[in-house]
Assembly symmetry: C2
Homo-oligomer: 146 residues x 2
Amino acid sequence: MSSDLGAPPAVTRRLGYLLKHAQLRLAELAEPLYEPLGVTGRQLALLTLFGEGPAQSQQDGAARLGVDRTTMVALVDELEAKGLVRREVAPGDRRKRLVTLTAEGERVRAAGEEVTRRAEALLLDPLSERDAEQLRAALGRVVRGE
Amino acid sequence: MSSDLGAPPAVTRRLGYLLKHAQLRLAELAEPLYEPLGVTGRQLALLTLFGEGPAQSQQDGAARLGVDRTTMVALVDELEAKGLVRREVAPGDRRKRLVTLTAEGERVRAAGEEVTRRAEALLLDPLSERDAEQLRAALGRVVRGE
DNA sequence: TATTGTTATACTCTATAACTATA
DNA sequence: TATAGTTATAGAGTATAACAATA
């Protein structure tokens, strides 16, 4: 009954390992599906971000996404180059740039939403409907720290 | 009753977002605790990997960790430079290098194991014991694709 | 003075290609 | 010929520092 008892502290049980590999698997499943849309998963996430609610500035988006504002510049550059978003000077504060979706951007966002749903379904396939919902809820609480 | 109905397709509900941010939060919580040990979370994961079961080659470790074998070279270099692991030519196949923990490496691994437990507990704090266990189980199944 | 966006730059992480030694 | 380890190198992704415009 020394350290040989009990399960070995397998790397594969660490949350760090599990989170990283779940992410890898999701990317593997989703990226091929995104490709026909001409965007990456990250770009699609940005379209989702800027597509919801009232127009947000780059800084707002960066904060919500948890990236630096300099990173956001490059990300928005990509989408703008593809004609999926526009930068507009914010009325009332001319330092800010509101990022809004073009008609094409909205089209891609909607199509991407559907594809994302499919990719997530593939990832969650091993789980029951209920377990999948609980996983999403648990992750949400953990991320929000509540 | 157009697209305004129903919940908005918030970025924060995407699995990609949730997994990434759960990982970020875990890193935030854990890294400060690892610092006194003089290792990063990644290095500790490697110690856990090579500390369990029979001695594994670099290639074995790379496969289990899901990284390239060239990446593994650099990772093992770091640990070797700190005197935490040794490379030994595998008896029976002199191409392979078995990675084994030094006494000091074993000491750090054990201390790190404890610290990891604490960091994970902090991350999972919002969840009940049972929900936390279900989260880990669900992630495990999703990662293994079963 | 502080904030938003921007650029230049550097750092981390990771992989691909080519080499050496073994098999 | 094929595999394990290694090196050199390049590509993502990200951040820090410094600057311009605006508040």
